[in-house]
């Protein structure tokens, strides 16, 4: 059973999104995704100011065995990437919903998160996969 916190939104490509009080959104990959990838050894995050379209590849996570793109399910502007992951990629494995966050963005549409899965819908999706 994967860990899926109730206060987050989820995508079918296994990203999580957290709506912050300041209107920005933090994005990372789910516990299920990090478990599937195995030990991460390299993470590439986008630079602040980059404009992202919905479904665009916005980060790269590489494990010992493979590289995977991370997609943003919502459009927006990157506020910051988690640069500390350059030296501590394992934070994504150890703390996917905390220190392993990938980027923070300002959504183009403040209501965009509403269309995403909640924790129970994502759990059901994982079980159906």
């Amino acid at each position: 059973m994967s860990n899926t916190p109730d206060d987050l939104k989820y995508s079918k490509s296994h990203e999580w999104l957290r709506g912050n009080a300041d209107g920005t959104v933090t994005l990372g990959i789910t516990d299920h995704a990090q478990d599937q990838l195995g030990d991460l050894v390299y993470v590439e995050v986008p630079e602040a100011g980059r404009e992202l379209q919905a479904q665009e590849a916005c980060a790269v996570v590489e494990s010992v065995k493979a590289a995977s793109d991370v997609y943003t399910p919502i459009a927006g502007t990157v506020v910051e990437g988690n640069e500390t992951l350059a030296d501590t990629p394992e934070a994504v494995n150890n703390d996917a919903y905390g220190a392993g966050w990938l980027l923070r963005l300002k959504p183009a549409d403040a209501a965009a998160l509403d269309g995403l899965m909640d924790a129970s819908a994502y759990q059901a999706f994982l079980e159906s996969e």
Binding site: G38, D39, V41, V64, K65, A86, E90
Partner: protein
Amino acid sequence: MGNQTPLYHAHQAMGAKLVDFAGWDMPIHYGSQIEEHHAVRREAGMFDVSHMTVVDLVGAGVRPFLRYLLANNVDKLQQRGKALYSCMLNAEGGVIDDLIVYFLEESWFRLVVNSATREKDLAWIEQQGAGFEVEVIEQPGLAMIAVQGPQAREKVLPLLPARGESAAALKLFYGLEIEDWLVARTGYTGEDGFEIMLPDSDAEAFWQGLAAAGVRPCGLGARDTLRLEAGMNLYGTDMDETVSPLVSGLGWTVGWEPAERDFIGRAALERERDAGPAARFVGLVLEDKGVLRNHQRVLVEGAGEGEITSGSFSPTLGRAIALARIPAAAAGERCQVEVRGKLLAARLVRAPFVRNGKAQINID
């Protein structure tokens, strides 16, 4: 469901993530491939390699047959138990497989070949052996466990039949029969240790004994990064039937002397050697951040393009490393690798990258 080794249930109980490997359900890791890798470099780890194919060659004609079958010269094996690494070539000098051959008795040699090539290897050996007095006997009832790392020997010896007294004196690249086990001081990690062939029925008790002694179970994932750091080739990735040992970093395994030894592929290898091989096989260290992967393009200024044959991240060095086949004309140590659409700086080095826990190359 694939083939299962005698340790399948032990792997499940130890939390292994099992994947298909050449038709076998094998552990890729037991939680963290990187921690398993470090355990082998620093302490001791164990690998179930029972999927590998063990073939005994028996009969009065075994040595003459192996002189003909293998590119390395089996006459280097004069002391019982001595092991030799060799390629088995086709007539064009392409590599059918790489293997270890053990000299057990004058009429009994043992080969350990790759599982992914099992069927073609057996067919080739049978076909080539037709004119020799030799019987080809596969040993599917043997499990194989590799125990590797600086503490491997002290952990293994007390668990061997007869408490391993005779195995304590084994030299590097020698094997020893102890009852119906074959204990060999060989490996695929660049660390000291043993590879042990034993009856299927003994495998689980031995594995559990090792675990109780603190030997960490390790999957094929760590096995791959360890062998890459050790600069050891992987069949099907670093070489196959389309390339010769001379362009695969394996020229040292070709037994050229004596010149009159006629082995399969010799004529083709001599032509290639005399003309000068078109490629060379090198190690690469990525200077920029990122990870090297199989099949990425390598660009060497003035010499053209090559390709990474095995690339990954080296847990010991904290850098991406690779083995690559590049044009023979490449000079100097600078090159670039195309990684996900970007050209990154890399350096040509001589493998191995790591041996006995120590970096063998300079990392700035």
